[in-house]
């Protein structure tokens, strides 16, 4: 297809213009994180770069514990969701019954329950079982909240595996467990990986349950950053350094998995 020169130049200028505008707040955050507090409150591009904000944020002993909480609850929630979802998606993709279609749609509809609608009972249940401000409660919440998405995404990947391959294994006498473990998982590893990645991203950035169910000892980075909303947020450089460290890993994950995310985020409706 031939485009006119005008069209190409237009696409180039507007495309890059929009990209830079949208990325600007992130770029500015990273830039500010290398400023001193004095430089940070003047919106200028020239300054002497310094790592002092990073050093200061990291030297607050609790930063690392917030980061560790984020890692533990994201990985924990994702692993728990996968443990339930892999058998479920396998079952629905390879052993469908008349109820499978209804089950899939019902699972999707549980995702529609607004978290705030069940805030009160979850808070009270957590309080009564002494789970408030524990990593356990976040792991459970994240696994449950993401389970429908994880099942759906795995299901769309499993549907693409030719049934013959599993049947061949079955004729060789493979039992269900080894069928899943030795045949299906290696075949669909990229799909399982990108499903896990989407779940990790969603858990890492989750900021409703983490703000409402944790206070300090189990609080992840979303809650730590929220603590900057008090007047100490006026320490712009430290806010930026802490934010940059909180965002960077997941941003990189996101860049690598954009294509796969569409499938998971739209329940396979857009591929």
């Amino acid at each position: 297809m031939r485009e006119t020169v005008f069209q190409r130049v237009f696409a180039f200028v507007v495309g890059w213009g929009v990209a830079i505008l949208l990325f600007f707040p992130i770029a500015w955050m990273v830039l500010t994180s290398f400023k001193s507090e004095v430089d940070a409150i003047t919106p200028r591009l020239t300054f002497t770069p310094t790592l002092s904000s990073y050093a200061e944020v990291l030297s607050r002993a609790d930063y690392l514990s917030f980061a560790l909480n984020s890692v533990v609850v994201s990985v924990g929630g994702t692993v728990l969701a996968l443990l339930f979802a892999i058998p479920a998606a396998y079952s629905m993709a390879f052993h469908p019954t008349q109820r499978t279609r209804g089950t899939l749609l019902w699972m999707l509809s549980t995702k529609m329950l607004p978290p705030v609608g069940v805030l009160v009972p979850i808070y009270i249940l957590a309080r009564d079982s002494a789970l408030l401000d524990t990593r356990t409660v976040l792991v459970i919440m994240y696994a449950l909240a993401n389970l429908p998405i994880v099942v759906w995404m795995l299901f769309t990947f499993y549907k693409e595996v030719p049934k013959d391959i599993l049947e061949a294994g079955r004729m060789d006498g493979a039992r269900t467990v080894s069928e899943v473990w030795y045949l299906l998982l290696p075949l669909t590893l990229p799909g399982v990986a990108s499903t896990g990645l989407l779940s990790l991203i969603l858990c890492w950035n989750e900021a409703f349950w983490s703000l409402n169910l944790t206070t300090s000892s189990a609080a992840p980075l979303t809650a730590f950053i929220a603590s900057f909303s008090s007047p100490q947020g006026l320490f712009f450089a430290k806010l930026s350094a802490a934010s940059t460290m909180a965002v960077a890993p997941i941003l990189v994950f996101g860049w690598f998995s954009q294509r796969q995310l569409v499938r998971g985020l739209t329940f396979g409706a857009v591929k």
Partner: protein, 300 residues
């Protein structure tokens, strides 16, 4: 032919593989509990007098919590804020997202990198987005927007004091525009280029191609984006929590924040639960259409 016959015979000789179809049960059970238990509790609490810190407030409340809710002007303000936020962000993200999707479908130098930059905001956690915008960009004295305004000889605007809801809308739109772009771009790329080429040869201009070929092709993806965003936008919380705490006054209190404030700041479990029931009903109206639209595509 014979191969299929053999396979069928082998399959028939084996007992039906019950384990296989039963593996879905654990997930169904936990999701069922996850849905039913809190739902029933919310409904139950909404008919009770229940205060988190005052055990003397107790007993059956009948319709009191609901009556208190609908006679509270804050509730109606929060509903209006919820809808304003929802509709503004939808119009901004879907409108711009569609145009940008078409734009990023064109080949231009560095297109891949530009696309990655443009979708990045979606991966930033909401508390970071909100505080970066509030402090580094929108702060009237120290923020970039203020500096830009001064450079053009204008007076810097104190966004969160003068236009608090618009400020929240701007932040949430920045977070969700990349989502709309990502989904719609994927949909645009599945468009048959030959079809568009044919239209172009027949003399259809860029605008005509957009309205008569691209937009109809995108209609399904657009409706999916609208519905998924709606589910999340009905309950925006973190962005409001860290920037305005629902204020000034109740200017940025949406339904989610109102429920949170009732439950965890005023300890009024009954009142918060009544609000929760309203939120669930609202979300279910949207969910109904979303599930129906996805069901049409589902092949099992």
């Amino acid at each position: 032919m014979s191969a299929t016959l053999i396979r069928e015979n082998v399959a028939a000789a084996k007992p039906p593989r019950k384990t296989g179809s039963l593996l879905v049960v654990p997930s169904v059970v936990v999701l069922l509990l996850w849905m039913i238990v809190p739902l029933v509790m919310t409904l139950w609490f909404s008919f009770q007098y229940y205060n988190l810190v005052n055990p003397e407030v107790s007993g059956f409340a009948g319709r009191d919590n609901y009556e208190f809710l609908v006679t509270d002007p804050d509730f109606w303000v929060s509903l209006r804020n919820t809808m304003t936020l929802l509709i503004s962000v939808l119009v901004i993200t879907v409108g711009l997202g569609t145009l940008l999707a078409v734009l990023f479908d064109q080949p231009f130098p560095g297109q891949k990198i530009a696309r990655v930059l443009a979708i990045s905001p979606f991966f930033v956690m909401p508390t970071v987005s909100a505080l970066i915008w509030k402090n580094l960009l929108m702060h009237p004295i120290y923020g970039v927007l203020g500096a830009v305004a001064l450079a053009f000889g204008l007076q810097p605007v104190d966004w969160f004091a003068s236009y608090p809801l618009a400020a929240v809308i701007a932040i949430v739109s920045w977070e969700w525009l990349p989502f709309a772009l990502l989904i719609l771009l994927t949909a645009v790329q599945s468009l048959d280029h030959e079809q568009r080429e044919a239209a172009r040869m027949d003399g259809a201009g860029v605008v005509a191609q957009f309205f008569f070929i691209t937009l109809p092709h995108l209609s399904r993806a657009i409706s999916v984006v609208v519905m998924i965003e709606t589910i999340f936008l009905l309950t925006v919380f973190a962005e409001i929590f860290v920037t305005t705490s629902g204020g000034p006054g109740n200017a940025t209190t949406n339904l989610a924040f109102l429920i949170y404030a009732r439950a965890l700041l005023q300890y009024d479990v009954g009142g918060a639960s009544a609000g929760g029931v309203v939120a669930i009903i609202l979300a279910n109206i949207v969910a109904y259409f979303l599930v129906r639209s996805i069901a049409r595509r589902l092949e099992v």
